[in-house]
Symmetry: C2
Subunit: 385 residues, 2 copies
């Protein structure tokens, strides 16, 4: 395995009625901003419970954070934070709300010009407001990592950052609140987590058997428990197992000492930026296409994944790889997630735009071993037309 | 799964030449105490590298920490710390050195009488000196948790404590340094880690499939990689995989949301206290005996463990459980670890003493569901005579 550093100080409270446990972990005598999205927290009980638990704090509310949260929305929150002297942020919702909160926390303390620099120029983040989260949607893993992805509507860009200052101080993981989610969001969460694992696992063998088996453990659990949570989000056991799996998919653990790919995300982000396709759905389109485009280069891990996760052990190597890709696509489709560009009315002109954008940005060697060239990106997307 | 809290802020540096990375994580302008054991750090390169990296600090050395570190030794370090105004502790070695350092760190700041109270009366630990570790022996997991076990030679007691103040600030995991270990210590480490996993996994099913699979992942990796590291400790890849497996066995992760047992440890500690049997060897004796004594109560998980870890799927349930226990014993014995009390010249009179001690302490219901009564302890040990 490769050398690595691992550090993850996020305190997790998992289970039923955990919200009361957050109070000792919030600084005393500060104003709190409660950030949320479209208002699901009013329906799943989280808002009422927070009001009760935070009754001794001044709480300013900032709702309406959209999926694929925008720089424009985030900067509105930053203005209010400065005007109202907010000292702690509390995100309640899914990955979009938590990602936005991370950027807002960093932007509120950013002193080197436009905070967009944090994303566009990777300007150093020297500090951030402290924040915590209440997770109500298993998917992105943002509740237990430092990463954030923010979109700028005016330019159609979607960029990521992360800093040692943007770990949540705590995250409450609430399978109960997630029990009220619409099925489409549960499906998105399953696929999002699944591809997070694949980005760190389906690269090339580096003799890291524990990391491989941890990754396979998550994939198998998502395959077994995900459909139960999709069929009935209020199934507390299934939702709990899905939620913990999604958190473990992207908290740094399975990436220790192994290469990452992440080019499925880079390409998928463009489909979201250009066409507003849900993040998870963009990944479900790109992942099979990229495997087809790099089937020789990723053969070792594709065969291992097929054998250990899908029990595909018969046939030639080519047949096994075909079956493995087909099984993955079937799994996504069984959750109502389409995997073809045409399913989303996207045609070849978008492929041209994405390839041109990558060339302009000099993103010429994405992915593990730099294999995802603009040409491979084109091929991967053409397979999915 | 059960509700849980998870928090582990230990920063891990894993791999080759990681020692230079510790400097930014040590407070400036403090005196450092370097704690070590029998002197292996002079032979494995760690001492020389530390001297180089810490050349701008005043470093006071405290060597000679014994296996199953003693209260008496620890208190000598505490005296020096107070006399020399030490502000940071650095443990270099295996679990004994790190456990001792945790107790020393807490004892140096303890203001409520004899620090033995921390262990005997579970007196609250209100603070501790900050400390880090350089791990040279994969085994106990102490490098990434808050727990410590200390023995008192004068009374033959061996007791544990842990506090939020006794997480290492950082731990360097050095498979290279472990490459110079004697084979017996590698064997001990493999068995120690293996039983740590079993204590958290082999209880009863609570619908926590991800935690189960993570536990099985570690067990399988120990079975596959352990013997390679045992045969040749300088096999860097095998030792790396063993080291990361041992750390993951006891950093809190696989215990999230599942019951623990830990009665193998409670019984094993007494064998060490009375007869000086190596910690890992004491566990290898007790584990199979306890399964035999509780085979009906632990049937569900014994069958799952046998099937998934040892591929035991044929025969009646009783035959499968017998085969599973035999496989585990064979694995321990293949590493040169004996599993019978008679192998260590221990007879039935020790069983009487252990049972009497547990009764005196009112330890009447150890283990998961309180199943390990004094009578079960007696049975478990009698199976291993």
């Amino acid at each position: 395995m490769k050398d690595f550093e691992f550090y993850n100080p996020v305190r997790v409270f998992f289970g039923k009625d955990q919200i009361s446990k957050i109070v000792p972990h919030i600084p005393k005598d500060v104003n709190i901003m409660l950030l949320y999205g479209g208002g699901s927290i009013f329906r799943n009980g989280v808002y009422d419970r927070l009001k009760e638990v935070l009754k001794n704090f001044k709480v300013i509310e900032f709702g309406g954070i959209e999926p694929n949260p925008s720089y424009e929305t985030c900067m509105k929150a930053v203005e209010i934070i400065k005007a109202e002297d907010v000292g702690f942020l509390l995100a309640a919702g899914g990955g979009s709300v938590i990602d936005a909160t991370k950027f807002i926390a960093a932007a509120a303390r950013y002193t080197m010009g436009d905070p967009w620099n944090i994303l566009a120029k990777k300007g150093p983040v020297m500090g951030a407001l402290p924040f915590g989260s209440i997770l109500t949607l298993p998917a992105t893993g943002s509740e237990m990592n430092r990463n954030s992805v923010i979109s700028r509507r005016s330019t159609g860009e979607k960029l990521a950052f992360g800093s040692v200052h943007t770990f949540p101080r705590f995250s409450v993981l609430s399978p109960e609140a997630a029990g009220t989610l619409p099925k489409t969001q549960v499906a998105n969460g399953i696929v999002d987590a699944f591809v997070h694992v694949l980005e760190q696992y389906l690269t090339f063998p580096v003799n890291a058997p524990l990391q491989d088996r941890f990754a396979e453990s998550i994939l198998i659990t998502l395959i077994e428990e995900g459909p139960k949570a999709y069929a009935n989000p209020a199934d507390y056991d299934a939702m709990s197992n899905l939620m913990w799996s999604a958190t473990m998919s992207l908290n740094g653990l399975i990436g220790c000492g192994v290469p990452g790919d992440w080019s499925v995300h880079s390409i998928g982000h463009e489909l979201t930026a250009f066409h507003g396709i849900d993040h998870a759905r963009s990944l479900a389109i790109v992942q099979p296409g990229l495997w087809k485009a790099l089937r020789e280069e990723k053969k070792g891990k594709l065969l291992q994944y097929g054998a250990r996760v899908w029990n595909i052990t018969n046939g030639t190597e080519d047949e096994k790889i075909d079956a493995t890709i087909a099984k993955t696509v079937d799994f996504f489709e069984s959750l109502g997630i389409k995997t073809r560009l045409s399913d989303y009315n996207v045609g070849p002109e978008t492929i041209d735009k994405i390839v041109a954008r990558f060339e302009n940005r000099k993103w010429l060697d994405l992915g593990d071993r730099g294999l995802t060239t603009p040409e491979i990106t084109r091929k991967a997307l053409e397979y999915q037309l």
